[in-house]
């Protein structure tokens, strides 16, 4: 299992959050959006300039800036578990 950060995830790939490296208000915000270890997350849409990126989290779309995504550690989900 490969460990990397969310900003490296490409379109339509699904990953699972393993750790949050942000702190304070930003960490709080991520948790309020349901981004906690164990959460499945997928790239939904990439803005023209590649930043921010819209992610699908728990049935909602959340836009994150690259620097925020870089503080979210993920593991890639095996291909067979990837949602359509």
């Amino acid at each position: 299992m490969e460990t990397r950060t969310l900003d490296t995830l490409s379109r339509h790939q699904t990953a699972v959050v393993t750790a949050l490296h942000s702190d304070g208000a930003e960490r709080r915000r991520m948790m309020d959006l349901g981004i906690v270890p164990g959460t499945a997350i997928r790239v939904e849409m990439v803005s023209p300039l590649g930043d921010p990126v819209a992610y699908l989290v728990r049935g909602s779309v959340v836009a994150l800036r690259r620097e925020q995504a870089a503080k979210i550690e993920i593991t890639l989900q095996p291909a067979e578990e990837t949602q359509p």
């Binding site: 208000a25 309020d32 959006l33 349901g34 049935g59 909602s60």
Partner: protein, 274 residues
């Protein structure tokens, strides 16, 4: 402005419709018996529910500059006068953009008799974060499970009875835009306000003894310093969590304004910013 409503949307179980007992009072909130807060994530239909109950026309829809401060309106139901407060959308009681603070301050310190949490049936999981946070501080809650038409359109059915059982508070399915479920929502609000409904709110009990003691100690000090402040334990937990905004409100004495029932912290700031 007083609009006497006829039953525009019949309730299936009651031919006459309980809606017939609703009298929308517009901006008239004089002599209210109960205060009802409308909380929820952005875009769940709070203002739509507010308009349905008060007859007012709060802006609805997704555009910048909608409900940033609270809006108030009134309605009469079963001979009781209700003051309804439409709050800005918020994902959490813990985060702190200005409009979210307006909502947080009112839910925590405004002492509403009932808090109606409007949730999006298509995004239930994310919406439940706020529901669980509010259930930690009050059991006088009605969950308005809105946008069930959208959920159906996406092939989703939400088991509202199971949800009500798990949360321990009433859950009323609605399509607020079409007025569906509003009579049932009114009945639930009335039951919770009058104390007829006995809630058994879902609470998380995983506090360790050291933390519980720290909260007790701090909460007692907060209560002594800010007499009459509701939810001192919540404030204590925020302090232990290092919440800068709350720390500042305690230090500056700003928190005391809330205890005296004046404009909440957030809305005072909001007006400055506007």
């Amino acid at each position: 402005m007083t609009v006497h409503t006829t039953t525009s949307h019949a309730c299936e179980t009651c031919p006459l419709g309980t809606n017939a007992q609703l009298i929308r009072l517009g901006i008239n909130v004089e002599g209210w018996n109960y205060v009802v807060a409308l909380a929820g994530n952005p875009n769940t239909g709070k203002s739509t529910v507010f308009n349905a109950l008060t007859g007012l026309r709060q802006h609805t829809g997704n555009w910048p500059g909608k409900t940033v401060t609270r809006a108030e309106g009134g309605f009469l139901y079963q001979d009781e006068r209700f003051k309804l407060v439409d709050l800005p959308g918020t994902y959490s009681l813990l985060s702190s953009s200005l409009d979210e603070e307006v909502a947080r301050d009112f839910i925590l310190f405004g002492q509403p008799d009932v808090t109606v949490i409007v949730v999006d049936a298509t995004r239930l999981e994310r919406n439940l974060n706020l529901v669980l946070q509010i259930l930690e501080i009050t059991d006088r809650v009605v969950v308005c499970l809105n946008l069930v038409d959208e959920a159906e359109r996406h092939g989703m059915t939400v088991d509202d009875r199971a949800l009500a059982r798990d949360l321990g508070v009433p859950v009323i399915p609605t399509v607020a835009r079409r007025g569906e479920g509003i009579p049932e929502l009114l009945a639930a609000i009335h039951e919770v306000a009058s104390g007829a409904y006995k809630a058994r709110p879902h609470r998380i009990n995983n506090h360790n003894p050291a933390l519980a003691q720290a909260i007790d100690t701090l909460a007692a000090q907060i209560e002594a310093r800010f007499e009459g402040l509701p939810n001192a334990r919540w404030v204590a937990m925020r302090l232990l969590d290092g919440d800068e905004r709350i720390l500042e409100a305690v230090r500056s004495g700003e928190l005391g304004i809330l205890a005296r029932g004046a404009q909440p912290v957030g809305s005072a700031l909001q007006q400055e910013a506007a």
